[in-house]
Amino acid sequence: MLQAAALVLAVAAAQETATVRVPYVQIVEQYGPGTEERAVLALRRLDLDSPSQAFDELDRRCVEAGARSCAPKDVLRAGTDVRHRILVDWGRLYPRVLAIHIEALVASHAVTEREAMAVHRNVILRLIARLDDLAERGGAPASFATLATQARHVLVWALQFHRDARWLAGVLETFGDAVPRDVDLLLARAQLEELRAAPDAVAATVQQRNVMSAMSREVTLAQEEARQLNAAARVYAQVLALDGSNIEAHVRLARILARLGRLDPAETHLRSAQKLPCDRRQTYLIALFLADIAERRGRRGDARAAYVAAQNAWPDAQASAIGLARLRALDGALDEARAALRIVRRSPKPGPLDRSDPWLGYDGGQAWRLPDAMRALQASFEPLP
């Protein structure tokens, strides 16, 4: 399940094998726990060039079942038996469609496979539109509305996995009114502003606006970065207004405030988050960020203690190890400094960046939630006949 790194390797190997074309729906039905890799490889071999190819095959089944068309209004107007047959079939197929295209999207190369990525994204967007249509009309099981929500979440997380600010912005715009009501989409909206505060994004924005003439480049870029960070901070505050116990929003807002030099409110948010039921990843990041705040304040001892707390939470992480080693070196404790580097003396664990060090996956927003979300999605699969 969502073993992107392994999948990428497998995909590369498969590109050299003979091509056997399997029908799309059969591939979707093939997808499930333990068969992800085989199914995604088969989907890649199909080389879909538009979402219509996928939906033409999917919709053939509902026409064969007796519906006038597969538009939700026609399906819901169909006779009881026909409607029932189609909704049961969709209930089996659509979660699998979502899951396989998310897996394929995540496994794609963000530079060389843009067209394939666009097809996967558009299949999911079209699926969400149909699910929303069904939910709005009534008469369909509530599970379709739930699936639409899941689909929105996993799609933005997959785009966060690729750090794709442009597509993330487009998708969030497509989701429209759903965003301000959904904490997870709001978090993605805020993280989009964080991606826009990355150095290359800031440089591109400044260049586009051509505002460099009056001030030095460094000042202009710093101002643009601060502007984007403040935009992100406003959206995180919006999340906390909806859900004051949202740990992710507290932690990420704190990080932004620290970058803006607002250390007191930053620490307050981290302390608030510490009082909530944090998982290991959150505990690690909170300690890491507290170390940074302590050091910015010149409290090197507190920073060291916070780095040790971070190491205790995530022993394999390199960021806390390097932070601690640097502080030890500055204190003149060179043997301890070198000992703190032991984590970089062995190969990092393979797999997603978050697995070896949550800091490395930090600018991927909530992409770290994808594996659990995919497990939940798979657990919801209805058995096939």
Binding site: R217, L260, R296, A329, D331
Partner: protein
């Protein structure tokens, strides 16, 4: 990463806290390279150098590094942008560098993309080959974390230590902030040379000695701290930025970095003033026109 202007005063205040290094407490050691028309000058003695510490002349001892054993830490960027021919050039260049080391020397390899791997460490040069062959290019760039790790690993050694950092892109993944890495560099006596390629050549174009790069690339106007990082780092530690854009240049840049390091003089002195804080060092060759000296800019006491 660019920091917001508002954060800077606090960051600088924190960095002003005193730091200590074993090597800087009683004896200051400088590895200085004397150049004449870009070529190292041999045969110099203490009488040929004039060294000031916060403006005060110092009584120095001088010896050439010559063939004495040195420690070399090689930090190599193997992020995604290195994929393809550049990786092959990097492997060949590193092999050539290691091939120049003698049995008295020790080598440390630090391979980094977003993740770091420091292995082998302080090994016989021959032990590095397998690791060079295993390098692959993928992922993002933790350049500042890698530099910090190299500095920590190299700090306070009795043997002369050269750190060579190769990168072809600005940092995208480090935890360590630029100013933190530079503060550490101010506190160590390791010489850092940077070999750059690709988009990082804009860094090389900051160096007036690299006229060739400047003819190929317009010098970056108003570079950001992130773009200036390797230029600032090498300047502080007495090293320099080298152009490694083509295959032979990469091997050539590595080779020249080591040759120039071996051509350095170790200058030591007990400072006449011992007040805490930043001590600015100036090293000059006396009585010879057209000479320049590459040496660290000072130390934190």
């Amino acid at each position: 990463m660019i920091r917001a202007a508002a954060a800077l005063p606090l960051a600088l205040a924190a960095l002003a806290a005193p730091v200590q290094f074993r090597a800087s407490v009683d004896l200051v050691r400088i590895e200085a390279l004397a150049l004449e028309r870009g070529r190292p000058i041999g045969g110099l003695t203490a009488a040929d150098f004039h060294v000031t510490d916060n403006g005060a002349a110092q009584a120095i001892t001088v010896r050439p590094l010559g063939t004495e054993g040195v420690d070399v830490v090689v930090a190599l960027d193997t992020s995604g942008s290195v994929e393809g021919a550049r990786l092959a050039h990097l492997q060949a260049g590193t092999r050539a560098l290691v091939g120049q080391l003698t049995a008295q020397d020790r080598a440390t390899l630090l391979v980094f993309n977003h993740a770091l791997l420091l292995e082998p460490a302080d090994a016989a040069p021959g032990a590095v080959g397998a690791r060079i062959a295993a390098m692959t290019a993928q992922g993002r760039t933790s350049l500042v974390d890698a530099v910090t790790t190299a500095l920590v690993w190299s700090a306070g050694r009795e043997r002369p230590t050269l750190a060579i950092v190769f990168s072809d892109g600005v940092d995208t993944a480090s935890w360590t902030r630029l100013e933190q890495a530079l503060a550490l560099a101010r506190s160590t006596d390791v010489v850092v040379d940077a070999v750059v390629a690709g988009e990082m050549l804009s860094v090389a174009s900051l160096d007036p000695a690299l006229a060739d790069v400047q003819s190929r690339l317009p010098a970056r106007r108003h570079p950001t701290p992130s773009e200036r990082f390797l230029h600032d780092l090498t300047g502080l530690t007495g090293g320099r930025v080298r152009d490694g854009d083509a295959g032979d240049r990469l091997a050539g840049a590595f080779r020249e970095a080591l040759e120039h390091f071996r051509a350095r003089y170790e200058i030591t002195y007990s400072p006449t003033a011992t007040q805490p804080g930043w001590h600015e060092i100036e090293v000059k060759v006396v009585g010879r026109r057209g000479t320049s000296v590459q040496a660290r800019k000072g130390y934190q006491r």
